[in-house]
């Protein structure tokens, strides 16, 4: 099959689709598997057209069982394949939890490095789409705290296109968190990729540092734009890699601004913000002008959708936290 030309512009969903296609064209051991990923193209159409072009042997509609998807993907990985599994929604990952945390995450270690697990676990995550229960959750911290997993999250079409290919090329298992409410946002796709496990300043500034990832990158950029009217110059860092964390750019930024606010949709207690706040105070104690603050989902089960706007961090909550930081 001749290689499809790389896209120059598109939505996050289309960019992941193009990235999957490029990875499958490059390596015939790459498989896509999950529920409804074939003829339907996935419930978000991220795998649209792949089964038509690569066949049912490489784009596999599985029976309906998340543990079965993950467990059989482990065996396929041991056989030399590179499975990219789709968990249809964040809240459906838990039936596969044992296979992910006890099997996928530990196999390389238990085998003393003899068994590689080159698997990508794609999870559309987060709220803001008015969905029913179990369709809007942010479980990333549970995978970040699991030794043996790497976790990344894309926030732009450019990163979506390149990061999915880098994750597939990795010989380690990677949980790939996709910001589902941003699937349809469009943007440029450049031809130069950053390494997978680096954080990046997406908006330079000097007043305070916003640290975020996934769907909240857009929210923080909007907040930074709004803050300009008040004469504030906010720096925004897209963490991109949640495990391992790449805190080099974060620490450098906080040493300059003296103030950090972590923003994520996931609940507060032991969310990414807790780890980041701990590490920032360990490394930047004498540079801090204020405590590291967190703007997060509350420690609630995800609420009914008509209350989710109140639950999710938004522009106003981010700016309120920035004000508290500046007033400290």
């Amino acid at each position: 099959m001749s290689a499809t030309a790389a896209p120059t512009r598109g939505s996050i969903a289309k960019a992941i689709n193009a990235g999957l296609r490029a990875a499958m064209e490059r390596d015939d051991k790459v498989l896509v598997m999950g529920e409804d990923v074939g003829a339907l193209g996935g419930v978000f159409r991220v795998t649209d057209g792949l089964q038509k072009d690569f066949g049912e042997g490489r784009v596999i509609d599985t029976p309906l069982g998340e543990s079965g998807i993950l467990g059989s993907a482990i065996g396929l990985g041991m056989r030399g394949f590179r499975p990219v599994v789709e968990i249809q929604f964040d809240g459906f990952v838990y039936p596969a939890y044992d296979q992910i945390v006890s099997q996928v995450a530990k196999l390389y270690h238990r085998s003393a490095g003899r068994v590689k697990v080159p698997m990508v676990i794609r999870i559309p995550f987060g709220g803001g789409i008015g969905a029913v229960e179990h369709h809007s959750e942010s479980p990333e911290a549970q995978f970040v705290m699991t030794a043996g997993l790497k976790v990344v999250s894309c926030a732009s079409p450019h990163d979506a296109y390149w990061m999915i290919q880098q994750a597939i090329a990795s010989d380690d298992p990677i949980v790939f968190m996709e910001p589902k409410r941003r699937y349809w946002e469009t943007g440029e796709i450049g031809d130069a990729a950053d390494p997978l496990h680096v954080s990046r300043i997406v908006r330079p500034g000097s007043s305070a540092t916003l640290l975020t990832y996934g769907p909240m990158v857009r929210t923080c950029l909007d907040a930074a734009l709004a803050a300009e009217a008040d004469g504030l110059d906010l720096e925004v860092i897209d963490l991109r890699t949640l495990s391992p964390l790449d805190l080099g750019p974060v620490l450098e930024s906080v040493r300059r601004t003296g103030r950090a606010v972590v923003v994520h949709e996931a609940s507060r207690t032991l969310g990414l913000g807790a780890e980041i706040a701990a590490r920032v105070q360990e490394e930047c104690f004498y540079s801090l002008e204020a405590p590291v603050l967190r703007v997060t989902g509350y420690d609630l089960p995800y609420p009914p959708s008509r209350a989710e706007e109140e639950f999710l961090p938004d522009l106003d909550r981010v700016l309120e936290a920035v004000d508290r930081s500046l007033a400290f």
């Binding site: 543990s67 396929l76 006890s102 238990r110 003393a112 790497k150 380690d172």
Partner: protein, 370 residues
Amino acid sequence: MSTPVPSPPPVQLLTPDGRRTDHADYAFAGDDESIRALYRDLVLVRRIDTEGTALQRHGELGLWAPCLGQEAAQVGSGRALSSQDFAFPTYREHGVAWCRGIDPVKLLGLFRGVELGGWDPEAERFGLYSIVIGAQTLHAVGYAMGIGLEGAVGHGVPDRDEAVLAYFGDGATSQGDVNEAFIWAASFQAPVVFFCQNNQWAISVPLERQTKVPLAQRAQGFGFPGVRVDGNDVLAVHAVTTEALRRARAGEGPMFVEAVTYRMGAHTTSDDPSRYRDPAQTEEWRQRDPLARVEAYLRSTGTAESFFADLEHEAEQLGEHLRAACKALPEPDLADLFDLVHHETTPELAAQREEYRAYRAGFETEGVAR
């Protein structure tokens, strides 16, 4: 209470008193020399297992999961594997490990706590021991799906086509993963044989709590054949598993083998069966011992006394070797583990490794013993 569904009689080719019998569908293909080879396996596996229990009692192992009583189920199935086939064990498959050529010292190492894995699964065609009940059956099915995707089935070439043997127990049949494995295997016509050692007990819970129908009968509901075999009859287990693997390699799909056996010992060395089962039941199964019937058969057909004496000597030597080798196993070094979490390690783990090394070095420079 519903009436339990009656169990069909298991396939048997060697009676408990050592007489060969015929079966309409299955026959043991080997001669007495091959039966002597199987008997040697049974005796040596029992010795490995006995040593494991003894080493735990002497404080050399943290735990041991005995396979006492299940030797025929494990050796019969393990010896049915072709070299290119792949087996996925639980944590009790010491007899299968033996058949696959795994050094038994590696098994002792797992239970002593010096490592978590021990061998290269791909090279040995034998997965790592699996402790979360049933999880490995899905790995077996995935591996078998891979064989199917590569087209390594159905050529009719005995040393080319491949199959997978998935081990689990009666308790595991209640796990979701095992049921998903059945569904996946049927749906993808995967070349996998599900080998259930029904040893009657899931720690303290009897078979009756796991199922109201004979386990082998469940296979029909998933869309593939199931067969019951006398799990204490090494010839019958070998014959049935050989046929199931042949089917799988030929591309005819999965099959379920229920080896009806009995866990003669405790679940593990931490368990106390006297709290939950009647010694009379254990005694009843002792009359169906998997080794005694093969010995009776071989003696009745003229195997020389020297064979048994030599084997006893070999078992003694193996026992001595295992005791010495177990105590000589090198201790693990925590500092080595940081680089084995990921194929490409992370700066965070590298930093924690150095933090630990520096902490430990601090004791050495101060002259304080670790």
